[in-house]
Symmetry: C3
Subunit: 263 residues, 3 copies
């Protein structure tokens, strides 16, 4: 008989592997309200994963774009009035058409105004919240312990995907950690934003938001780890992670994934 | 005696080769109204081809910039009110000063509002229209057959440059195909936008808009093909195509170009 | 006894080397009002140098961001009303909180409106002005000779950092030249913008603005020179300069720097 934890780990890894193949087969359209710094890199990450990105923020167009998309990302970086207005229309359309969406509350620890808007958005039904430790602190008011993550997920009926040296993925009953990744991920701008876009893509092809979020963080963590082994610095790392993501197949993903389930 | 088709093919290839040398000698200034995702990559493509890009969208400045440019790109990606206003001033200046301009109707198949604006712009004298099959369908209402392309070119007094596995370049009397390129071109965001910018650059140094458009699509197709042979994925491909474009000389271009004229 | 000029050159080179280590130790937060083309590359350059970039332009947020930053960049590229308003709030906050800031008057030689705004900003206390020859001509009305640079620096109580084949750094009493760099630096968009961001970063950790500016131009010039030796063209150059900047240590910097003091 196999060790049950090893079994579960393989399940998640195998699931992430299956999901990247599903992305490539279904080519989901992912509309992104994201910051100016991240738009290009995010689009390239989504293309490398097999998706069809779109990025318009125009209030006149965003309804049409979201309505024809399979998932939506709302990222609060470089958040101006144009993006606020765009977000309101985009989220309204997503709710009406039952299109899953992700919130990435970039730098809510740096601007009170932005944190306030994140609180409002959390009441509008995002499936997942992808953020880092400082941003979690700003929203939840404490350290991201396992029980704090689960409590926050329960309170907001959301999956929390917390990026860090180890990533944590929690809903109100399940917690997993992903121990993949590479230190250079923190040295490339918009890396976290791109992870959030990949969470949106996975939500487009998987109804269980916790599994979708865990798969997205696993895929990006493994891609980062493989890319980091080839890179000479953050410049070549940003290039390599796109190549690796494009070429990542199920066996490589399953072989590299270090996922643990916490009961 | 040589086969006339081979002769013509060599003529276009040789013409494309001559044109890239003309770009490097004259260094045309190309002003771009383009989308937020494409601005950086487009500027780097133009620089690699020997041009001087500028990108401002400010209504207070764009008239000055266009007036001192040799060509203009109007790309409808991420099209907001700021870009609409900028486009109106830019096109007005281009018409007044007889500066050639290109229209790239990105994603007109995704938003009715955008398609409507493209129709208006088509009445304002663009020299060329660079687009893909889905966008052509949205504007012309059918498949891009040879006769449909020629009819559309005739009706709008424009050159049509249609990107795809094979590129088609048509005006009302001439049609050419370019069979260069690489599948990774569809995996890098803003690749089509950058091709359109190169069409604008070629219009700056060549009065025959059909030859200019054919040359631009040949140059980019060959650069993509050469870059694709070196790349490990879309990340390294996006880097390599800039390098290749910068280093592309007339003999390499003539050797790789696969252009056919269709009487 | 050593040649005093060689001695001084080593002093500046050693100072630049010390400064990059200070950046890595202190990790200054640098807020950037910069153009849409430059945002991503600038953020990656700052991250590679050990800094924490932020980029928001929203009038509702920029005060908070600048107040928590250690330096500010104001770059006039793609200058629209949003950026003008953002700049006014950012500079107001910087003045109130004594946060050093840099002005990069991109393309003031191309638009009268932009030159006028640069003149206003010069009265608001920037520590340094980073620009090229054409931009200096537009603002100062002449050639950037040593005495013209010193006179301009004196008149505006500012350090002038002039980029070119040789860089010049002048205040009212001191002038240095940096003979590092690579021709490919002019073939990558936003390279000058990124240099200006690095000037801001150095001002965050060094009170002598002339030494800070000289160090920033030396660091970037050396990084460009080392990257140029490895690059196959402007695409791979843009990647390599980020890698080199990330890996640059004090001995490499001191070994490559070609700085001369002009009494």
């Amino acid at each position: 008989m196999r060790d049950p934890e090893v079994q579960q780990r393989e399940d998640i890894a195998r699931f992430a592997a299956a999901l990247i193949e599903r992305l490539r087969a279904r080519r989901p359209a992912v509309h992104c309200v994201t910051n100016a710094v991240a738009q290009n890199f995010t689009a390239n990450v989504l293309l490398a994963a097999g998706c069809v990105p779109s990025m318009t923020l125009s209030p006149d167009e965003i309804g049409d774009f979201v309505a024809h998309s399979n998932a939506l990302l709302v990222n609060l970086g470089t958040f101006d009035r144009e993006r606020r207005k765009a977000t309101e229309r985009a989220v309204e359309t997503a709710r009406r058409d039952h299109i899953p969406w992700v919130l990435d509350p970039v730098f809510v620890d740096r601007a009170a105004h932005r944190a306030d808007f994140a609180e409002i958005l959390l009441t509008r039904g995002p499936k997942a919240l992808r953020l880092n430790r400082a941003e979690f602190g700003a929203l939840a008011g404490g350290e991201p312990t396992k029980s704090a993550l689960m409590a926050y997920a329960h309170e907001h009926d959301i999956v929390v995907g917390l990026s860090g040296e180890t990533d944590w993925i929690a809903d109100d009953t399940r917690v997993a950690t992903v121990a993949n990744g590479h230190t250079l991920m923190a040295k490339v701008t918009a890396m976290g934003c791109a992870v959030s876009a990949l969470v949106a893509a996975c939500l487009a092809v998987e109804a269980d938001a916790w599994r979708a979020t865990a798969a997205a963080l696993t895929i990006m963590g493994v891609a980062g780890e493989v890319a980091g082994a080839k890179a000479a610095g953050p410049g070549s790392f940003a290039v390599a992670i796109i190549d690796v993501l494009h070429n990542l197949d199920a066996p490589a993903l399953a072989a590299h994934a270090r996922v643990t389930l916490h009961e």
